[in-house]
Subunit: 121 residues, 2 copies
């Protein structure tokens, strides 16, 4: 899916990782920790965004479909259209758990939660 | 496309980056420098593999379709089914050039060269 702002560039995963994530109010809510790739197809399975946490503790990792990350140049980051409550209720886990095995169990739940179109059957 | 060895795991881009790349004879020929993601869709545009070079000089960067990288656990790396001559003749450029703008001009050439199925129209 194209980003909402219609950006057409290719982007290096190494640059996506570490990019800040903002809510629609413009508050920074986290950053991209990693991008999980699907080995079975040519797809990006999801981005992993770290939210919250203090001094490295209690940080939660949320898998977000790639299509939910809207890059805005003025912020040099992604805007995600989520309220605080939506974020609190969203699927989250530790980063190892999110990328264990084939990731596909959580994938269904994640795409449903964000109402993102599935790239698989 | 599934990897030739049928791996089903999801894989973190941060782990793909830095993975060694081997030819079918088992010789290490390079490593994955980055993975370029398509902002316009949910796809992996290509992996960027650095080949050759000595003391950081003259290294060439080759865009390779994701489907050409066959992960083999015994090697802890990707095997790419290319001869030296095929590699020498393959599309290559500096890493900035490969990820400039939308990457799509080079993309056609790359997918044709490796006879990889196009994920776009």
């Amino acid at each position: 899916m194209p980003t909402a702002t219609g950006h057409t560039s290719a982007i290096r995963a190494s640059k996506v990782i570490g990019t800040s994530v903002f809510n629609p109010a413009g508050e920074k809510i986290g950053k991209v920790e990693d991008v999980v790739l699907d080995k079975q197809s040519n797809n990006i399975m999801f981005a992993v965004v770290g939210f919250g946490g203090f001094l490295g503790m209690n940080e939660k990792f949320h898998p977000l479909p790639w299509s939910t990350l809207d890059y805005q140049k003025s912020k040099d980051g992604y805007v995600v259209n989520l309220t605080k409550d939506q974020l609190k209720a969203a699927p989250a886990d530790g980063i190892e758990e999110l990328t264990r095995a084939d990731g596909s169990g959580l994938r269904d739940e994640v795409y449903d939660y964000y109402k993102a179109p599935r790239y698989w059957q």
